[in-house]
Assembly symmetry: C2
Homo-oligomer: 352 residues x 2
């Protein structure tokens, strides 16, 4: 635990640097930190802080800049989350007009809202729920030998895919299909649908197997697509503006463009007790992000389904403002989605 005065100085350095982006010197601190000591005393303290690794100087004759450890200490011990103002709340809310019931769209919109509000890049995932089950499957003929299969899950995910059948689609075929679907798929957990299950089912169909097979395979594809939680990234171009990325912003954007690491980033959330997580610089484990921070928050639908939403930006970001903003957004999302999908997520359990 740092002595009181040194804490004050560190906090002042971090906050000042976050605001201006310039290294902050002893003179400037004198007036900011509200300490009645001379710049020389502050310099001594700064020397200590430097020795402890909380701040550095970009070059000998410059002011100090927080190190990663400095930010970490600030976030953990010094920062007091700002209270959101009414108009800020409204600004966040206004971004997400929840017209369509589609969770994927809501999360997308939430991402955009964060982008607008924070001027950083936003990342979000659609809900994933290991207990999600199949709510409905419809078959819609679009041409003599072609049908659209539509899948709806208990978490509100809607997926569709065209499917070419080997035989013409008749009313009989449609009836048979909806029969099979009703018996074998309604209420089935997504995780239970796999290649083996489909093959067993096809085998049991006898004469109908030939005509049904492509349709059932399509269902399997759809379930797979619905199981994977999608990751949305938006507002990347905002990052260009920050001078900390200066010339090699392209490198960061390229990194963010790849899907895999993003998944890791988001899914890593969870070890912390609180549901908001701040990762500073190399805490992100990827060296492309060593100058970036993430603030990621989990949302919940009922007790099972979860997803995450957050931002990515330069380490120099206004943590004390952003944390409550993201927390607030997460609350809204949780509420929205729970309102729509929670009720029946439990009422349908009897079915499996």
């Amino acid at each position: 635990m740092l002595p009181q005065r040194r804490q004050k100085i560190l906090a002042a350095i971090v906050e000042q640097y976050i605001e201006t982006g310039e290294p902050v010197g002893s003179k400037a601190l004198q007036s900011i930190a509200g300490l009645d000591v001379s710049s020389a005393t502050i310099r001594n303290e700064m020397a200590e802080l430097t020795a402890q690794g909380f701040i550095t100087q970009p070059h000998t004759s410059a002011g100090r800049v927080p190190t990663q450890a400095g930010y970490r200490y600030y976030v953990d011990n010094l920062m007091k989350p700002a209270e959101l103002e009414e108009n800020e709340r409204r600004r966040i809310e206004s971004g997400l007009d929840y017209r369509s019931g589609d969770p994927e769209q809501l999360l997308q919109a939430a991402g955009e809202a964060l982008v607008d509000f924070t001027n950083f890049a936003a990342i979000s995932t659609t809900p994933s729920d290991e207990h999600a089950f199949i709510k409905n499957i419809e078959m819609v003929p679009v041409s003599p030998k072609m049908a659209m299969i539509v899948l709806l899950t208990s978490t509100g995910i809607l997926k569709s895919k065209a499917c070419r059948t080997d035989v013409p689609i008749t009313a009989d075929l449609q009836d048979a299909f909806s029969d099979i679907v009703r018996k074998n798929f309604f209420g089935t957990p997504l995780s239970d649908v796999n290649t083996v299950m489909i093959q067993t089912l096809v085998a049991s169909l006898g004469a109908k197997a030939l005509s049904m097979s492509p349709l059932l395979v399509t269902i399997s594809d759809l379930v797979e697509a619905a199981s994977v939680s999608e990751i949305n990234l938006s507002g990347q171009s905002n990052l260009l503006g920050y001078k900390e990325y200066n010339d090699n912003a392209g490198q960061l954007l390229d990194f963010l463009h790849r899907e895999e690491p993003l998944g890791m980033l988001v899914s890593a959330t969870g070890d912390s007790d609180s549901d908001i997580e701040i990762r500073i610089g190399s805490e992100n484990r990827y060296k492309e992000l060593e100058n970036s921070s993430m603030i990621i928050s989990k949302y919940k639908i009922g007790d099972n389904a979860t997803g995450a939403i957050g931002i990515i930006g330069p380490t120099r970001m206004n943590y004390s403002k952003l944390v409550p903003s993201i927390k607030y957004l997460t609350d809204i999302i949780s509420k929205f989605l729970s309102d729509v999908y929670e009720e029946e997520s439990s009422s349908g359990e009897e079915d499996s």
Copy 2:
């Protein structure tokens, strides 16, 4: 019409500059252009070309660079489109695995394919068809007072939206709904569905009006969403790498991020006789694009539905390679989509 030799020189300048990005001087041209004349002669010709506005020099002691007019002349008169090699064709095709029958996804994938292939940004629109009609509407209950409405159009566009009803959803309600839908919407052109039509319909329902109204309004929303042709932009971050955008690439990305002008850009396609259009620099009418070129190509589904796909990049792009590539991609898209949706787009007309 420029004299033969001057044409050769202009072509050589354009091609060399496209390749290297450096201003090209008289000496370099001597060896490239395959002309047996001295550099002095070439200089004279270059002076002429400069006077005619086809090339400029960035500064007095530099080589020449094509002007916009120079590119235009090259594209119109000198360029011979490169023959695509087999592996290039494969590279383009491999990008778009046409698994889902969704045109929106196909166009998205096609955009990505172009991004990978060209290293520029790609832009694409989903098909729009003034003769498109409603193929199917389904209602899927998701909770006691909540249903998902799914709309499928004759062009394969699938839209869905959650809808909260004022009264509990009963089997009766569902039957009534599907009855109304069958009678009033199946086969109806999208353009016929509007607020007036919905209101008239609601008015005619009598007792059922109250329970049906929100559902029908949702249909109207969906039709609207399906009518608007969506614009996809991808690969923006590729543009960062090009030195012609150097410091203000962010400005271009911001511009591309706004939707409205993009729509204008794509929809402006059409006056030309061929179905591929090249717009160089300020021919794009937006000053944010004065250093950019677009190559846009229209695809067709049958005779009615059309959309466009193309690329945006710096004016210094390899036109002779890109034009056939994009043409090829367009052909594939047209074929794919026509295969799936053309047949029934005509077979269903009897219904309205």
